[in-house]
């Protein structure tokens, strides 16, 4: 109870609510993603107590993911990638004159999905944490490798491109002083590189400045303000619809949460999978994409529920569930916190505070989200060229502010260019980001494990949990060639 009351102190509450309003702004402006919003807000959180910073991050992410559905419904442009699936029926509903109903459903389903997602997080995470205490270096090595591999496989694009991105991130993570021997690796005599590559500047570069680069590449769209008609929200029929589709909401929230818990999957994949499942089990599957309520409910409940799921591996194993939690883990380390099973024993108070903040954020979302929908009648008139230039200067100041160091701005710029090139080459960025976080953990556990086993790789393969992880790893990358003979035999038998 003390934890619950503590989150309502003004020094937590005020930045938290401001961050949620900022999240609505970020989410509803196409081109600005939830990850980018979190990356931009991180430098501000370093000057606060950890829970205030984490409340801001949670607030931004929940609001931004919801707000992405606003332009998706009205303009056919997803505000964030997680709103891609919401376009299909949301925009069609808008064309039928049911735009306000679609947005009201969006908001309430985001609230319910987020609530279910956080409740699963609260009940599942502590149980998993007890199990995770049995893990040794061998299991942690595989856990990190598996998390990264999953990100590489699930990300958009080919598996090999995902693997290239992941390996590149792991290579970047080796820059700096080697923890085991104290030897400086790949620093080229630079003292700035001794501490390794700053995670936050890299993050701001990959998600902030590269996104700006991508947007300014099409000059014709720069001046275009997304003006639209006045929004009138109708909540009258929403209650009835929510009751009618209660099982769909629960189903989509659970699917969203489970997918969110897979490292690298995130809210966008959760929304698409949930939409696909809803379509498959629906009696009117043929009407999906023509503007039906189920097509709005499924992705919007799933994308917010996924956010709760992404925190499960992040808190329990120290493995980020998506890019937002990847940034969160970096920030938590800078706050002096070490995510992992021990945090549930050593810092239970803070963990409970995080749970309560996530829960209360859903209720705040209802109010702030509603106000956000109303306010965006005016915000969409704000020209994109002004917003993008502002984001550019925020990226510079944000990365400088971390350590008052211009070297971090250089890192940000280089990673911005790298991110832009990767996107042009259709190489997913998510594995690179996860690798920057997971790299030290994977290397450390591999090398300590090898010292323990006197140079033998056998314990990495024969311990029961390790064997399971190893089989999963093989299946992840080689499922197609492995399953081919079986499929061929099955087809032959059918014939």
């Amino acid at each position: 109870m003390q934890e619950f009351l503590s989150i309502f102190q003004l020094n937590i509450l005020i930045p938290w609510i401001i961050a949620m309003i900022f999240g609505i702004f970020v989410g509803a402006i196409p081109g600005l993603t939830a990850t980018m919003g979190v990356a931009l807000i991180i430098p501000l959180t370093f000057y606060m107590e950890p829970i205030a910073g984490l409340a801001m991050i949670l607030g931004v992410s929940f609001c931004a993911i919801f707000a992405g559905d606003i332009p998706a419904t009205y303009l056919r442009i997803p505000g964030t990638p997680a709103s891609g699936a919401a376009i299909l029926d949301g925009y069609e509903m808008n064309l039928k004159g049911k735009g306000p109903l679609a947005l009201a459903l969006d908001l309430t389903c985001s609230f319910l999905g987020g609530l279910i997602g956080v409740l699963i997080l609260i009940f599942v995470a502590p149980v998993l944490a007890k199990f995770a205490l049995k893990f040794t270096n061998f299991e942690y090595f595989w856990l990190g490798t598996l998390g990264l591999s999953m990100a590489a496989v699930i990300s958009k694009g080919a598996k090999v491109k995902g693997a290239i991105s992941g390996i590149l991130g792991l290579i970047f993570a080796t820059i700096g002083i080697d923890i085991t021997t104290g030897y400086p690796r790949f620093t080229f005599g630079s003292t700035q590189l001794m501490d390794g590559i700053g995670f936050i500047p890299a993050m701001i570069g990959l998600f902030g400045i590269s996104e700006v680069f991508k947007n300014v590449l099409s000059p014709e769209t720069l001046k275009a303000p997304a003006i639209m008609e006045k929004i009138q929200i109708s909540f009258k029929s929403v209650g009835k619809l929510l009751y009618k589709f209660k099982f769909l909401i629960i189903q989509s929230s659970i699917i969203g949460n489970l997918i969110g818990a897979l490292p690298g999957a995130g809210a966008d994949i959760a929304a698409w999978v949930s939409y696909g499942v809803a379509k498959k089990v629906s009696r009117r599957a043929d009407q999906f994409g023509t503007g039906i309520e189920e097509g709005v409910i499924a992705p919007t409940a799933a994308n917010n529920a996924a956010l709760g799921g992404t925190w499960i591996p992040a808190l329990v194993f120290g493995i980020p569930g998506d890019t937002i939690t990847a940034i969160v883990l970096g920030a938590m380390m800078m706050y002096g916190l070490k995510p992992g099973p021990l945090i549930f024993q050593q810092n239970r108070f803070l963990v409970n505070q995080i749970f309560y903040v996530a829960l209360v954020s859903q209720f705040f979302l209802l109010v702030i989200g509603w106000a956000g929908i109303k306010a965006f009648t005016y915000f969409y008139k704000f020209p994109r060229n002004v917003v993008l230039v502002g984001v550019g200067v925020f990226c510079i100041v944000g990365s400088y502010a971390l350590r008052n160091n211009l070297f971090d701005v250089e890192i940000m710029l280089l990673f911005g260019i790298l991110g832009f090139i990767m996107e042009r080459c259709q190489i997913p960025m998510v594995p690179l980001i996860l690798a920057l976080i997971l790299g030290p953990m994977i290397e450390d556990n591999l090398r300590v494990g090898l010292v323990k086993s006197d140079g033998s790789f056998l314990p990495f393969l024969i311990r029961p949990i390790c064997t399971t992880f190893f089989i999963l790893f093989i299946l992840l990358f080689f499922w197609e060639p492995i399953s081919k003979p079986f499929k061929w035999a099955l087809n032959k038998r059918k014939k």
């Binding site: 501000l44 000057y47 090999v160 491109k161 693997a163 290239i164 390996i167 590149l168 792991l170 290579i171 080796t174 080697d178 085991t180 021997t181 030897y183 690796r185 790949f186 400045i209 700006v212 680069f213 300014v216 590449l217 099409s218 000059p219 720069l222 001046k223 020209p383 060229n385 002004v386 993008l388 230039v389 502002g390 550019g392 200067v393 925020f394 510079i396 100041v397 400088y400 502010a401 008052n404 211009l406 701005v409 250089e410 710029l413 260019i417 832009f420 290397e443 591999l446 090398r447 090898l450 010292v451 086993s453 006197d454 140079g455 033998s456």
Partner: protein, 145 residues
């Protein structure tokens, strides 16, 4: 390059031979990276077969695209920020960055001046005053901001 650079790394003094030394893990990653690269090159060639090859003219056309000029300008202005931040100060650098880019992106002059000033004041207030981050004053040191 990684394989070449790690040759200068010291051997492990404890534990299981070279496997625990500082070069083992980067070398492992480099080998995996090379294997993935070879796969991509082979598949890349297979995919490109039958398509028109990318000539110098198409590359030059792409570079002359106004969008690429925008990106190049942003890059140059960020470098300007890095180089001159301590000398000219945060206010001038951020104003130049904002003004030139908004001008390039077609924001009308009066609005451009107005938005640039608002942004600079906002950043000064949030980062400089609220979070007490040191933002160099440079040549405007006499203003005492």
């Amino acid at each position: 390059m990684i394989l070449f650079l790690t040759r200068a790394f010291p051997k492990a003094s404890t534990g299981a031979s070279d496997l625990t030394g500082p070069s083992f893990y980067p070398n492992l990653l480099a080998i995996l990276f090379i294997l993935c690269g070879i796969y991509e090159i082979v598949y890349g060639f297979k995919e490109v077969e039958g398509r028109n090859s990318i000539g110098l003219a198409s590359i030059l056309k792409g570079i002359r695209n106004p969008g690429f000029v925008n990106i190049f300008l942003m890059f140059l202005l960020t470098v300007f920020f890095i180089v001159f931040m301590n000398l000219l100060g945060f206010i001038i650098c951020s104003y130049v960055f904002l003004f030139i880019l908004m001008w390039r992106f077609g924001v009308p002059l009066i609005r451009n001046i107005f938005y640039s000033i608002i942004y600079v004041l906002f950043l000064l207030f949030v980062f400089g005053k609220i979070f007490a981050i040191y933002l160099p004053s440079g040549v405007l040191d006499f203003l005492g901001l």
